[in-house]
Symmetry: C2
Subunit: 460 residues, 2 copies
Amino acid sequence: MKHTVIESYFKEHREKHLDELKEYLAIPSISSLSDHKQDVAKGAEWTADALRKIGIENVEIMPTAGHPVVYGEWLKAEGKPTVLIYGHYDVQPVDPLHLWDTPPFEPAIRDEKLYARGASDDKGQVFMHIKAIEALLKTEGTLPVNVKFCIEGEEEIGSVNLDQFVEQYKDKLKADVLVISDTTLYAKGKPAICYGLRGLCGMQIDVKGAKGDLHSGLYGGAVQNALHAIVQLLSTLRNDQGKIMVKGFYDKVQELTEEERKAYEALPFDAEQYRCELEVPELFGEEGFSTLERTWVRPTLEINGVYGGFQGEGIKTVLPAEAHAKITCRLVPDQDPQEIAELIIEHIKEHTPPGVTVTTSLFDQGKPFVTPFDHPAIQAAGRAYQKAYGVEPAYTRMGGSIPIVETFGTLLDIPVVLMGFGLPEENFHAPNEHFHLENFDQGLRTLCYYWYELEEALKN
Amino acid sequence: MKHTVIESYFKEHREKHLDELKEYLAIPSISSLSDHKQDVAKGAEWTADALRKIGIENVEIMPTAGHPVVYGEWLKAEGKPTVLIYGHYDVQPVDPLHLWDTPPFEPAIRDEKLYARGASDDKGQVFMHIKAIEALLKTEGTLPVNVKFCIEGEEEIGSVNLDQFVEQYKDKLKADVLVISDTTLYAKGKPAICYGLRGLCGMQIDVKGAKGDLHSGLYGGAVQNALHAIVQLLSTLRNDQGKIMVKGFYDKVQELTEEERKAYEALPFDAEQYRCELEVPELFGEEGFSTLERTWVRPTLEINGVYGGFQGEGIKTVLPAEAHAKITCRLVPDQDPQEIAELIIEHIKEHTPPGVTVTTSLFDQGKPFVTPFDHPAIQAAGRAYQKAYGVEPAYTRMGGSIPIVETFGTLLDIPVVLMGFGLPEENFHAPNEHFHLENFDQGLRTLCYYWYELEEALKN
């Protein structure tokens, strides 16, 4: 592949590509609203058509219990690795509508940014994958890797049917690498490859004291207060330096390598600006770790909600009989969500204050994910970015979880490469979502370079 | 006074007295409901008429910003002590009506119990005071003490205008002893004189972290969680043995005398039954004190409410920016509410976790009250009970606060004697409120004996 050929191709077709993308973005495929069911179906059809047009074969709109998955494949690179490309054609709702400068489904370009719901998350990025493959097929007549597309319509409603779909079509989806373009650059001009996500486990904690709320005058002092009990219990979970005190909690945590630590340190990060943006008097977290390390590679235990007793205005001298808390942990490799949940339950049993009973109920769990930093598929992505952007990409992790990554990672057991082209400030899920066209241009090239780099990297 | 004469008088007039009381109870003088404003006025008139009929002079229905106070006096016992009798003619609402066996304002006697709203709390007891004075005036032609009546119509809505009323008519209400009959016997057949009440102070605690709720994945670990902070802060207020850890909190607490401790120990109290009734796995409170001591003579700090973050069903992986708590302390002599509030605020300042700001706002306060156990007015009440009931009365305290006691105690600076004739199981504020007629009979005699005992006791 000649870089200049590809570059010329994209330059030449830029207007046409953007017109096509505008057409795609004009479809209000809001998966959460039943009024838009037909629009979501239209989104699936548009995606399938776009795949067919560029030469993808066996394109199918595959039903699920909810919105369908669009599948397609190009498997003519005999003996070469197979890449599964995941994305989604559904979008978030658009309320509050009056905050949009131009209507969300009337795509408009201003200052080299394309404004529309889905421009960045994720139709824009799905479209780039399609156009990158098109460009290679048009200019080279072939691809260096085999490609499978799996573009779903329920990402914005939690990919509720994807687990079952992947389970059912495990063989059909079989691949060597999964590539997802639904994340962001580290910052403008600094591409990022996210190679790790935190997992999740959590539970509700219910504390029960007396048979009902009591008069704090008549009974106060003689009966355990459910709120005192829960406060006391919760305060044992984390110490005042931010360390989780649950026995065994850190046992399986992979320590950061010296190389990773140095790489994170080298990333541009302004802690004072971060503090100001969040409007906190100071940053706070586990001692001995930087902010990036705390959010990327260290596990957490957060109290997400506490409630009990009187919440109205003023005073009510009640001795509450019940108290409730919700906690979730963000987990890192190799913590196991079920194991951590059990450790916490054990801790709660050991620390239950006298005079109350405590019960717990578990929430959904997700395993932490990491593709080794030095995995050839990751390093190949780095080289592709470097070529397109002219700068070394950041190797990052993300503090959150992307459930589909776990779904694919677990069911297909393949490395996942998160190559995103959005920017953190592009208003995903909010009014005036947009996409910087410089990343449209550079992203298309990155993808083309990546397939060659990947083929090369996986050769051995 | 001859006991037999008084006894005969009450026996003879029992039917008539009960009929009159039923008439009183038939007035739905619900102070909290504006629909019943006229009924409350009727309640005041009935009370005033009843006072006039027995020979009380200068009876007035005195307006306040809300419902009026009924005042009356008999001041012909020259050189003798003056007693101020406080009670209230207003009643609680009656919902849920369908749980009443007979309508709340159609008084009915079953099994020697009088069922009606207000039977016990407090019209029945106000009525007894009126009839006791009547009996003495009829049989003796005079009273051993001077008497002032102050019967209000807003007790069930927090005596909202009484402070101002007492302040305004301080001179008119001047007396040597205040007697209130709005409390209960210790148990059936065991009268009680409550000589102490706990005071109250409290505050709202507001914790503020970041500018808004944050995604627990993206920010978790790097920013203080307002709920973690409040839990940590609240957990420092009380240790796990129920002791309040605020510096100086216990400094002014009057220690129990050996005599009082022995008297409490001698009272019938079944801790296991108490535990079962409250349905708690075990009783819990400050070490080294019995349940009665914990609720009567030891101060508390209770969390009345905590709220922050997500309270809905299931999970929301939020890192909350705000958390709130309401706390109140029950105080005992000689703790000062304002001083205790300041100690707590100081404690909060010293224990504020990093990464958040904490603000507090104070609630209304009430001073603890105690009339010395061996005060002649208290001991005289003991003898009167002993004569009427044939048993030694219990000298008790109450864990709650009665704001009017503090009002009178502070503004008039006189001892307060709480002589109640209700029983704890008589459903005050609940459906099927009732009054045991045995205590109507014995109570009338107790009151008659008391005025003589009191005159005797205050002689020196």
